[in-house]
Amino acid sequence: MHIAILGNGISGITAARFLRKLTDHQITVISAETDHFFSRTALMYVYMGHMRYEDIKPYEDWFWEKNRIDLKRGYVEQIDFEQKQLHFRKGDQLGYDKLILALGSTPNKFGWPGQDLQGVRGLYSYQDLEYMEAHSEGLERAVIVGGGLIGIEMAEMFHSRHIPVTFLVRESVYWNAVLPKEESEMVTRHIREHGIDLRLSTELKEIVDDGQGRACAVVTGAGERIDCGYVGLTAGVHPNIGWLKDTALETDKGILVDEYLQTNLPDVYAIGDCAQIRHPKPGRRPIEAVWYTGRMMGETVAHAIGGQPVEYDPGVWFNSAKFMDIEYQVYGDVSGRMPDHYASVYWEHADGRKSIRIVYDQNTQEVAGFNLMGVRYRHEVCERWLAQKASVEAVLQNLGLANFDPEYYQQFEREVVAQYNKQTGRHLKLRQKRGLSRALAFLRGRA
């Protein structure tokens, strides 16, 4: 049996790796972007000179041949689902028995005038990075539009090259749909602390043509003109499925899939950013364009094809990012707009770059989520508490179990407990400090 995987990002590659573990089928991974799998989330480090392209490839180039995973560089223009044939731009074809679509995303454009000018681009692909690099020489200012994770990454990238950045964010503080208020404000402060010209509550109205098809300025919603040589479009992404719209494949915003990640067509699966789950689990969105869900879907689809089908279950939500110098981790249900019956214990360090937030249900006292800024927590421990619906007081008293900061780092769990006591008038004491032995004992159910 021949399995073709369209896309060599984390979803497609995870699927290929697990298919190889589970089956002896012929596997071909197809990509127009690069010959080999690389970590998309690490593109920024190549630009900043922390790593080379070679370093962001998680596997050495011989890995694929050794594991009998065929790699094909090519641009698929059309899929003949009837005949099970992929048609490449160069005119050649490739047949398959099963097809996994791992097509990824493409940056959003909202119909802004000038959005297709030269020097206007999102940051998603390797080519986007090359484009950014090619336009950086002599660049006097970059404007970034859209205040998500890629926006701040791009700001950090230009900033590392000492290129002045103006960062247009539609919201009144950075990323406040996802981050609670205090954390949003912390990141907002941090962006400005680095000398980035952050414009809140500011929308893009148009991008100005310099007369030669190049962007030379942007005009904001308030009519202000900002001269710049590059415009980064980072207002989110959407599934890269435009070219499949008029086929037998059933799509909505993404490619619709069931809990086994199968599309409406037999032998065709979709995973990662491009997949839209028909019936997502409670609390989850139908499209979740993050690294971790891509990896989970890759594992799941490999099991489905490998004859050990399991339902896709992403488990307890988690994510992480880094806002310039501030690391961010989240476990469970934390957002900028939390339901009214949620309360949270929030502690922030005096330096304004670290905080710990524990969200819980006021009615049931069950812990609902953890949000960490500049502090590291153990994924497995937080997940166990969340899955068990542990009570917030049990969590607080054992909070040290979750601490994952390096050795000798100051531990702030006592301050978190004190904050809770202050808020509630209780008299809890911290019973557990940081330590692997205790954490492992807890995970094995002995604590």
Partner: protein, 661 residues
Amino acid sequence: MHTLQKIGLALFAAALLLFIATLGLEKYELSEARLTNAIDNTYHVDAIVAAAKEEGILGNTYASSFSFVPVVEDLFREAGANLKTTPPANFPEDGNRADYELPSWKAENYLLPVVKKASTGPVSDQPVLFWWLTVGLGILGGLLYILPKFNLIPGIKHDHLYHRSLTRGLRLSVRGFFLGATILGVLVYGIYYMGKDYFWPGITLLIGLLITGLVFWVQRSAWRTPAKSAAPDLTGWLGVGAGLYLIAFYVLLYWSPRHITSWMLLADPLSYTLNGGEASQWFLYGMLYTLVILVMGVRMFAKYMHNKYQQIRTASVMFFQTAFAFLIPEILVRLNYPYYDFKNIWPLNYTFFFDWNLDNLINSGGLGIFMLGWGIALILLGVPIITYFYGKRWYCSWVCGCGGLAETMGDPYRQLSDKSLRAWQYERWIIHAVLVFAVIMTMGVLYSYLPKNEVWFSRGNFLLLMIFTLAGAMGYAWYRWRKGGVDIGATGMYVGLGVTVLLIGISGYHWATESEQFFFLSSGETRQWYGFLIGSAFAGVVGTGFYPLMGNRVWCRFGCPLAAYLGLVQRFKSRFRITTNGGQCISCGNCSTYCEMGIDVRWYAQRGQDIVRSSCVGCGVCSAVCPRGVLRLENSSVDIDERATEVRALHISEERGVELY
């Protein structure tokens, strides 16, 4: 860049240039007084003076050490020949000829002091001034460059490392050229070093070819292009320059110190203050080494303002270098005790069991005996016990001098370590081969040192002790491996077993036959070659010279026999591991890139696998540079095998269906 930083950089560059220039500022002049100053054997002085008078070179001035040294060598040869035929007039009839004869090996020892005493010029006139103008100004420049960094926002400071010529590394082919040329150069020079004897260089070449064969064909690396090696498409020529400079420094230091006497002259005042004597090349080296660690340690404090592990660790290496490696030994010498570095452990300290060192310690009273006992206790108890509790990091990145230099001066080059599987395969063969060489060399030296049976610790009992130690250690390793707890390839384990059995067999043979030469080798030549190849060429020339070419831990990773010993303990029985934080890894590669030991940390992290690797020195930088908080250095007695060896599917357990972890 801050203006202060620009000034600092300029000052540093000026100081470095002047430092190099001092080698050409001095002239060399022979006189009777200078010769008497340099040589304490009056027969030799008289003969050399006579020869010099005959040649008419007393009072002549030579412009450089390169023109001066051959003249002196000729003089020594002539004086030696004269003494051989005609004994000194005042020599007593019943005296020993050895007291006045001047064979070439004795003359060799006079070369450095004579050149140093013959030196005349601004540096010898004003050593303190020149110390300040070179070393002092260099420190000032370095600090001016570093101190403004304390004002930056705390965080990872790796911007542009791969854009800078000094730190971006070499194209693979260029790196290969330097590596090949260095190995060839060392082997060819080695033939001369061993008195035109091809045996040891030949054996070394043979073992090198054997290892290459093992890596390429037995471990099937031939068809694997090493993609994660030093930069395939970049060559930082400034880095190449820095590497060549360091290589030249070490070559002169180890094998031609007579050409760097100007540097020793400017170290003289400090040497007199500390140990009461003048500066040898080793004092000069120790002084520079310590100052570099201190200044670059300050740089580490600035770089890792936010990371307490890095700060404490850096303070520790700064302290151990300054106090243990530099000040205490010098003060001991001043007090007429043996030079002793209390933290230097055999087999890194490969001269520890040499006869002259043992004699020196035994004859130095209670303190000497304590030093001997302390050194042995560190080997037999310190290493296994402390490594069991904390991993090899307690030594390699907290105490060791080589580690100290790597972690401070070498920090800007850590990304240049080769992460390819091929490099790892080479690493394992080479470092363990060096350990075996160190063990054989030391056994030979001790065997010939120990009496046959007058005392309880005789040759025979020593061999029995070695047999039991080797058998016990190998037996335990084998048991752990068979139990499945340790994920190591069969080839390595079988070769390890074979070598152990061989060593035990040879020990048994010597125990039974009481033959004179251990392992059929001359212990003198063995240790001479070890000192040359491992002690000087590998640890110094390659170990530090290759910082800008192959990363800052080339010696620690490929060559250090103590690191190999610590690594075996860490791999087979230690509570130390690097834990991975669940599923948070995004495979970005910062951890692998900045691992100075070339461990592909990401390989494990992205699988949620804990990391137990013999080479890990626990520097903690993988954890520091991780943007997602995935890695943590931890010690625990719980559950090391299961979490480290199981290849974990992050999301789905293959046996149990959908399950989280």
